[in-house]
Amino acid sequence: MAILIRTRLALALGVLAALPAVAADPPPVRLNVKPLLCVLDKNATACAVTFDIRWKSTRAAEYCLNDEALPAPLKCWPSAVSGETSHERQVTQDFLFWLSPPSGTEHVAEAKIEVLRVGSTDRRRERRSRHVWDVL
């Protein structure tokens, strides 16, 4: 009985000890895009953005950068562990940038660009202001 308890305790401790290592494992490829958010006022329908795009990989490989709105990759890199580029674009709605192998559709890493419309496109809602006491 005592041996069984000790065995279970050791197993539990082993699992606990392994958890941080699992959690700390970096993803094989990281894609960082800035800015990630376009904030629009009621009179604007699109943002003109120059995206700063950087990626890093734990091992050298060939990757292509894709834009959801375009049928072909924006840029492909030869075998490398990192890459960077900038991309100018008008943004009207949420979309994805992602990295994929040159001959594949797999999303190795992705970044979502979001468009936030402050206020409402419905003029009745947009025109109704909240009481001065209301904090939002």
Binding site: K34, P35, L36, L37, C38, V39, L40, D41, K42, N43, A44, T45, A46, C47, A48, V49, T50, D52, Q90, V91, T92, Q93, D94, E114, V115, L116, R117, V118, G119, S120, T121, D122, R123, R124, R125, E126, R127, R128, S129, R130, H131, V132, W133, D134, V135, L136
Partner: protein, 304 residues
Amino acid sequence: MKIPTLRTLAALTALWGAMPLAFAQAETTVEPATPVPNAPHSLPAEKSWRFGIGLGYGQRTNPLIQSEDIPVVVDLDIAWFGERWFFDNFDLGFALVDNARFTTNVVARLNSDRAFFGKTNTRYVNFTMTSGGGQVPIVGPTTPGGPGAGVVVPVELKVPDRDYAVELGLEMLFDGEWGEASLRAFHDVSGTHEGFEISADYGYRWIHGRFSIAPSVGVSYKSAALSDYYWGVHADEVLPTLAGYQVDGGFGWEAGLRTSYYLTKNVRLAVSANYEKLSDSISLSPIVAEPQVIGYFAGVAWQF
């Protein structure tokens, strides 16, 4: 109470000023997204419901005597807009006219003055203020020379109760490149105060990158019936410690500032401050300790 409130506001302002630095990270080399005005694009249909919640800390001062300030830790934003009917944070309305120049709605709402009367206390006092400003003891009703003569008797001092009023009225809403404005006129339909209120507001919103700042100002006229019902001391409420007082109609004004820093599409940091000046006649009421209401809030807001 005023000085700590102003200090707290100043501290919040300083904190707010530092927030962008904390969240800017490596974005210093990246230009913020620049909005393009009037670019051709079809906008997605908007949901009928709007639900938002703000969690943080803030408070609104209570101008009534022996009252507590009103803590603000949660602010809800709940609205539904149908074809013509709408519910917007307890305003129930129907759009009569809606065109490019203005919107006219008929709206039923609850009067906001009642909010202060839920945070009052009853106290027992031994002294009362004379008209000359001095304090005199309240002496018990005993016969001269009898037992208890000259004994100071605590007397109840209580802010009178007030009811919520349902008000019905019209509002005209305008907006444009210059900002947004509204004209409102409401009358009691619940037989509570039987008065009316007319108000005008103007606001403007600037957006730069992830920041949004929206100042607003407003002025309102509250009729004598409305003002006296909430802020007067009526004949049946007069106490040895509370003199009768009739409030006249009058003008008050308000100013507010709402700022946001958008972290994601749905989450933002929100800081707001507002000031409301009560009318002169309300300010002189014996149940009013301060002629203004100051409010502030800082927290995180989610929009769903």
